[in-house]
Symmetry: C2
Subunit: 252 residues, 2 copies
């Protein structure tokens, strides 16, 4: 798995093409003068922000399923870390002349459908969703950061930071499986369903939002991903997902 090794080497290890980063007089990248690029960036920031808002709401709701108050506090702490990222993303949308709330509107339905199809039935399903969902989102942000102008890239990379509470999830899920081995089989299926639903909704967003897709496939003066590179990106995302499932003691 050479790609996985590359990825884990740095937060932007997945970058293949150079990013559009020649700054203009205002210190902004010249790519931002291109309306399609600008629209794509606003779309991207908006879908990430709305994803964080709903992840926050779901985490707080799932925290109610926690067996102890200490577990509730851990999950609520994770939720607030997610939520805190929203402000930076909204700030960048405003800098680009967009309205964050109008920009998030087109993504509401896809994200609501994702959550409706992946409502955790219990505490463990909630934990796995938090771990796998946050991990998958972070990997995607890391991949896409390479295609962004420097100022936007910094905002997106900032969403990858924050206290890492994932050890808590790993410990709880592994302890649960040790106590009841059948749980492992159920959670492995659950992890596959989460990945499947995420891909279905991602494809739907890509099909609906041409500008966003064009960001990945490049522009006249911007290099993008060809089909081979896109395939490699999906391979990396899938491998990282499998590695996370293994962390939890689950087959991918």
């Amino acid at each position: 798995m050479p790609e996985t090794a590359d990825l884990s080497a740095g937060s932007e290890g997945a970058a293949e093409p150079p990013a559009p980063d020649a700054p203009d007089a205002a210190g902004e990248s010249s790519a931002l003068a291109e309306p399609a690029y600008r629209q794509a960036v606003v779309d991207l920031l908006a879908v990430i922000a709305y994803g964080e808002i709903t992840a926050f709401e779901r985490l707080v709701e799932d925290a109610r399923l926690a067996p102890t108050l200490a577990d509730t506090v851990e999950l609520a702490t994770m939720a607030c870390v997610e939520f805190d990222r929203v402000h930076g993303l909204h700030g960048r949308i405003r800098e680009l002349g967009g309205d964050p709330f109008a920009a998030m509107e087109p993504f509401k339905e896809s994200i609501a459908t994702f959550h409706a199809h992946t409502a955790p039935a219990d505490w463990y399903e909630g934990l796995v969703k938090a771990y796998v969902g946050d991990g998958l989102a972070s990997d995607f942000h890391r991949e896409i950061a390479a295609y962004l102008d420097p100022a936007t890239r910094d905002v997106v990379v900032a969403t990858l930071e924050g206290t890492d509470h994932s050890q808590f999830v790993v410990d709880r899920v592994r302890a649960g499986i040790a106590e009841d081995p059948r749980l492992g089989g159920r959670l492995a299926l659950w992890g596959r369903r989460l990945m499947g639903e995420a891909l279905i909704q991602a494809q739907r967003v890509a099909a609906d939002r041409d500008a966003l897709t064009a960001l990945l496939t490049g522009g006249v003066d911007r290099p993008g991903l060809d089909l081979v590179a896109l395939g490699r990106m999906f391979t990396r995302l899938t491998e990282r997902h499998a590695a996370r499932m293994a962390d939890l003691g689950l087959e991918a």
Copy 2:
């Protein structure tokens, strides 16, 4: 209202007696060597922390009643500010040799009863509860900070800081009343009910937790509040509550 003037002059303006603050070899106040004082401080930190946790959960739940996504984000931001304070309070309980989760246990019932009796029926009741509840809690923390050893006082005073989002609440509530004047009458009654329920539960906690009550009434070598001073403290809390209701355009 000379007391109100004193109060608004500084974050600890309500202090009458000197706090127990002679540090020992470890830099901790000698008051902490007294088991009853130590227990009282752990109780106090625990009840504040549990209050913040439940306030966080209620705010996030009430945020679902928000008419717009922008309002939801404002309320969720307020909720995370509340929640963030929990970590400092728990840290201090651990420094004093306590277990934060065991320490919070005795307060669960009173706080759950408070919330059960004050479940907002709509968005506006949720806003008023957030504003009035957070304000009342902050005033109480400010009052009681004067009776604490310096290290604990710093932790309690830190809970009074954070982004102030109350202007958002004032704007929304005043706009709502301007649109429907009957709302003002209903919310005025609601504010009285919130204050009444808070007092009932506070009294219950005071009756159940002797050490906590002793913190306010003093110890062998620590000055405390006599009945006159206690009465003045309640007057100040009530006056500040009335001022907050007036901010919202409501009669207290």
